[in-house]
Symmetry: C2
Subunit: 443 residues, 2 copies
Amino acid sequence: MNETTTLARFIAESKWGDIQQPTRHEGKRALLNWLGCALGGSRDETVELALRAIAPFSGAPTASVIGRRERLDPLNAALVNALSSNILDYDDTHMKTVIHPSVPVAAAVLAFAEHRQATGSDLLHAFILGVEAECRIGNAVSPQHYAAGWHITATCGVFGAAAAAGKLLGLDANRMTWAFGIAATQASGLTATMGSMSKSYNMGHAAKSGLVAALLAERDFTSSDRALEAPRGFANVLSTNARLDEVTRGLGQTWELSWNAYKPFPCGIVLHAAIDGCLQLREEHALTPEAIERVDVRLHPLALDLAGKPAPATGLEGKLSVYHSLAVALLYGKAGVAEFTDECVRRAEVLALRAKVSATPDATLDKAAARVRIVLKDGRTLSRDVPHAVGSLEKPMSDHALEEKFRELTAASGNSEALIQLVWSLEKLDDAAKLARGTACQH
Amino acid sequence: MNETTTLARFIAESKWGDIQQPTRHEGKRALLNWLGCALGGSRDETVELALRAIAPFSGAPTASVIGRRERLDPLNAALVNALSSNILDYDDTHMKTVIHPSVPVAAAVLAFAEHRQATGSDLLHAFILGVEAECRIGNAVSPQHYAAGWHITATCGVFGAAAAAGKLLGLDANRMTWAFGIAATQASGLTATMGSMSKSYNMGHAAKSGLVAALLAERDFTSSDRALEAPRGFANVLSTNARLDEVTRGLGQTWELSWNAYKPFPCGIVLHAAIDGCLQLREEHALTPEAIERVDVRLHPLALDLAGKPAPATGLEGKLSVYHSLAVALLYGKAGVAEFTDECVRRAEVLALRAKVSATPDATLDKAAARVRIVLKDGRTLSRDVPHAVGSLEKPMSDHALEEKFRELTAASGNSEALIQLVWSLEKLDDAAKLARGTACQH
């Protein structure tokens, strides 16, 4: 079989009319979530340092940098935007592979939206196809590839960025095949970098390398015709158990975006069900902190291993503390970026409520589930079983909830509502560059 | 052990005075050979296409592109120069790993020579250290890494480029460690691309990515502190039999440049001994083609498998034809770039002499050896056993032979002699940018 060519031809020949409404809408949800994450992360120190290192070598500043005044060439803009959007660990997750699919692909299409005249539907079409290529290649090498130490969003993201950029450039099947070849030979990213700034850099490098792959292929710069399946190609070299039929089976019939999930809370995913339960009980019973005697939560033992920090000292540690996470949910009715700052984990009222939370391992529960019990001072006991948290595939975030998340992340940008409207009406946008420019710092 | 930090500290703390004369001289030989290869390859179609794709996104044109009038930013100049220098397959070879060590490292230092004020000895020092890092890391993962499909000059070259650039930037041990981390997470390159333009692109991508690693680390952009030896670091993820002590054992006492070899002929290395034997006999006996009745050569069976094309139709095929290679050696007294063109393999006098060459497999010979016998029309028989070809570690090319190779490759440049003198007196050069500018197209 020649999976590389089959996938390349599918991307090259896809028509906008082939994409059904539910997939289009999921594409817009993913883009809205991604833009929010990028705006939220755009002032982080990681972005500042990357800009300081890279900007002196940027080409003509024709592309917007999300949330910032600087402009860069499209390749470096894609790098920085991918990096920004991953920093908060609030990005989307393709549940079959743990790829964060939007990060490299959206960064690539946004950069080219200003570089080439593209409409909103061109942008959305290229984005959907890029995610499709990236996640199918990820499916083919999972789970061994990530387990071995490959940072899968980067190693597969470079294909997604190449596919999306290649679509915007109008590459034919032959050139798209070469673009995949040039992407394959640039595929990199080690999970050893996790916990350092380089973890988000991996995403940026993948986005930029994917764009370069498409640009080279456009000029007839040749590569392997069988980069995925060749004996010394991507699948065989970077995986010991590749199933290449995952790349091509049902192409155009199923869409990987339907396995995409959005995080409602920027903390360990194993805590989401417990937070969800607390938020439900708080709202239903109009709970105040003063009314609470104690909070008991049962979680799978592995969840508690991962996220059982009893006394977090920093916001980052708070993201792995069930005690902190439930305290803020019950105190403030939310668990967003503002609830995982260094300041918040040290706040007196948070510490007071945190002390009332106890957690018990319970191997009968699913890893993503939680059982919450709140004992009130008036003697009542409130309970909630949460088998699937909000944000899971079984209980996806609503469009409204995604908007609220976007508003929270972009409060400082001053044009949150305009951006939300631009994304929801993307198909009607005549010039996709308007979206890119709208994401830059407006003041 | 912490091999990453040990290597980083060695690079950061190395003083020019620590480098002994033989290593300095070998560094200059490698640079001369590399510059010649880059000048010789600089007009290739591969370079033209890469420039067409990349130049529109280049930053301020402060760096020279070898053999060309275009100027680019240092990162893209390094990319193109590495690519040019690999195209002719005439570059150097670190015999323990089959890394072409100069390609990514020299491209990196030359680009930064114009970017940062560096002297000739700064440049040479950084180059020697870059090759050391690259080849030691290569030793640690060889031979399994290359055999698995990793294009080792690219995957290890990114470390060499990062080390050399980091040295020119004056990174301390801590930042050099991060530069290695950022290099590791960008390490890529698949041998599946061989036979396409992407094969040489791998070198360019490695050179550029190494420079970016050093630039980011300079700004305190963090990475893994244990990128080589971490459980999910470079050695464990990209090799199944890494021996990390190769990275650190004897650091500063032995130098990997002493295992570096230069090709006297731009064709399959298994043919070099046979060509060498023919050239010796031709010179000693003032042979003319008319005097030759027939040529018999014995080669290891594997050598004949690789390079036994009886009727090559193109210059590229001629590089894998013992018949063509010996014919041109005996006809012209050389087997250089001009003898492996499409035109030359079709020339009548070459075809006539080619028909007189016969080759016999002989498993008693070493793979790098040859036994040549020339029967003359006057009845005499001339024989020559060549256990080690010129250019091998046992019989290295002389400085004079390297100069001749350089002149052949750079005949069109118009300033071959000036460049040769610049390289041999590199330690005395106050401004290394003079070398970089001297390599650009002068007319």
